[in-house]
């Protein structure tokens, strides 16, 4: 985990503990949620994709403020490339796991049935590379820190909710290729 992500998570925990200490996050005023995500992400690059279809899980807490904080993980299927001629066969696969923390502001509309949550995301992709050529194979994992804005638009049906999660992430390195993602959200809150 990158140093920035770690710092953000520590700040998050500190905020929550401080809120509880002030009574803001007492059980009666605190709502938790668990969401499944299913969607697709892509990066503006010609390189082999480590994104693509993805599925993930996010756990969140909404304080009275109403600030929403969450942590989550997602698996991106990535892509496979292959090439061959009469004497050589080449194969490579790239995929990734994304872990993140985020904080957002909950804005409810339509008598509480519609929730719009702009949020800021910090996270890290762990990109798994594999390549095979002839009898030789190499693999490795590369962490890549990212950050950026996102928005959840959720419709509530009792304790359940469904909607979309759209996000744009930036990679602060000179191979930075902005990432766009759109996910369906299915979850429950209490």
């Amino acid at each position: 985990m990158s140093r920035l992500t770690c710092t953000f998570l520590v700040s998050l925990v500190t905020t929550l503990v401080a809120s509880v200490a002030r009574g803001e996050a007492s059980p009666a005023r605190l709502r938790w949620s668990v969401d499944a995500r299913l969607g697709y992400a892509t990066a503006w690059t010609t390189g082999q994709s480590y994104l693509g279809p993805a599925t993930g899980l996010i756990g969140g807490l909404t304080l009275r403020v109403p600030i929403h904080v969450e942590v989550g993980a997602a698996y991106h299927v990535g892509s496979i490339e292959s090439a061959a001629n009469d004497t050589l066969v080449y194969w490579s696969r790239r995929r990734s796991v994304f872990v993140h923390a985020a904080a957002g502001y909950d804005r409810t509309m339509l008598a509480g049935r519609l929730l719009v949550r702009p949020r800021f995301i910090l996270g890290s992709f762990f990109i798994v590379d594999e390549a095979q050529l002839g009898g030789a194979m190499r693999q490795g994992i590369e962490p890549r820190f990212t950050f950026g804005p996102g928005v959840d638009i959720l419709f509530h049906f009792g304790a359940l909710h469904a909607g979309i999660d759209a996000r744009v992430l930036f990679v602060p390195s000179h191979v930075a290729a902005p990432i766009g993602g759109l996910f369906g959200v299915f979850g429950v809150k209490k």
């Binding site: 299913l38 697709y40 690059t45 010609t46 390189g47 082999q48 994709s49 693509g52 279809p53 599925t55 299927v77 990535g78 892509s79 496979i80 490339e81 292959s82 090439a83 061959a84 001629n85 009469d86 004497t87 050589l88 080449y90 490579s92 696969r93 790239r94 990109i127 590379d129 594999e130 390549a131 095979q132 050529l133 002839g134 030789a136 190499r138 693999q139 490795g140 994992i141 590369e142 390195s173 000179h174 191979v175």
Partner: protein, 324 residues
């Protein structure tokens, strides 16, 4: 729709989405049978002609067609590419659709070292498969061969420091430290090939005045070369042409045992780089002319000439003996 049907539909949707992303048709590679083993047999063993350049192809925008025309005009015995063969990602499509139509016509006589941009693709796989063995063993990036009276060593210089190279890449070949597998291999190879004249090549220039700076990670390799009496090192990475006086590993001029370095990052990628501060030992620099380096490898020395693309006026030529 009941729950079970919904779950099945969702599963099918996920599978289809996954397949769209991952189930791609294999690309057809040009045949490898035209590519000989690493040794190069020059037309005149007493004066083998090679062409060298790095930082070559980008589509769109690169000027690799112009530099490829120079190679064709020179008609060398071998072509040495000095890394960053394609931009921006060293992807399979870039090699097949961008590099191959230009410099690809020399593939069978090309000996290629791996750059940092090649590692934007998984383990630089497309680079190693495209060159069919002309880049050494897959994923290692080091090899040696003879051409005429000269012995040539190719090294992998991706040893850290580049933001775009995954930190695990040096594990692929063991890194560049003094006791690394590559360093041990280099010592053994040079001891086993006591040619009077030896040339080494890799991507990250040990010394350059270019904005990327000098690669300290290649200091140990340079020291091994210097101790073995190697004559010439070719590199790229800095997008300019630069020639150095014979240098020792610590960056001081040593006309007796030093190694002469050429930086030839002028193979087609634009724009060229600015010079930050002129490095000690830098004898000639140019930052506004694309071109290739023509080297004539003679029995007891070498002659160099920078050949500019059409319209360019800069050139640099000279000759020097190999170490005694």
């Amino acid at each position: 729709m009941n729950g079970s049907a919904s779950a099945r539909a969702l599963g099918a949707l996920a599978l289809a989405a996954g397949c769209l992303s991952t189930c791609t048709r294999p690309r057809e590679l040009p045949p490898c049978d035209e590519s000989p083993a690493l040794p190069v047999a020059p037309k005149d063993p007493a004066a083998a002609v090679i062409v060298a350049a790095g930082d070559i192809a980008e589509c769109p925008g690169g000027r690799q067609e112009e530099t490829a025309a120079l190679v064709e005009q020179i008609g060398p015995d071998a072509v040495f590419t000095l890394g960053d063969t394609t931009y921006p990602n060293g992807a399979l499509d870039e090699f097949l659709d961008c590099y191959h139509p230009s410099w690809g016509k020399f593939r069978s006589i090309t000996r290629a070292v791996v750059g940092n941009h090649e590692y934007h693709a998984p383990r630089a796989g497309p680079f190693f498969v495209y060159f069919c063995g002309g880049a050494g063993a897959p994923f290692e990036g080091r090899a040696s061969f003879d051409i005429g009276a000269w012995h040539v060593v190719m090294l992998n210089s991706n040893c850290g420091g580049d933001l775009d190279v995954p930190s695990s890449v040096s594990d692929d070949f063991g890194g560049c430290g003094p006791d690394s597998p590559q360093a041990r291999w280099l010592k053994e190879d040079l001891a086993a090939h006591p040619s009077r004249c030896t040339l080494a090549m890799w991507h990250h220039a040990r010394f350059t005045s270019g904005e990327h700076g000098s690669a300290d990670s290649m200091r140990d390799s340079w020291r091994i070369l210097q101790d073995a009496g190697v004559d010439v090192v070719l590199a790229g990475h800095a997008h300019l042409y630069e020639r150095f006086a014979p240098m020792n590993a610590d960056g001081q001029i040593d006309v007796v045992r030093g190694v002469r370095g050429f930086v030839v990052g002028t193979g087609g990628k634009v724009p060229l780089h600015a010079v930050d501060e002129v490095h000690n030992g830098s004898e000639v620099r140019n930052i506004d002319t694309l071109g290739v380096l023509r080297l004539e490898l003679r029995s007891e020395g070498y002659a160099w000439r920078f050949v500019p693309v059409s319209g360019g006026s800069f050139t640099d030529e000279g000759e020097a003996p190999c170490h005694d």
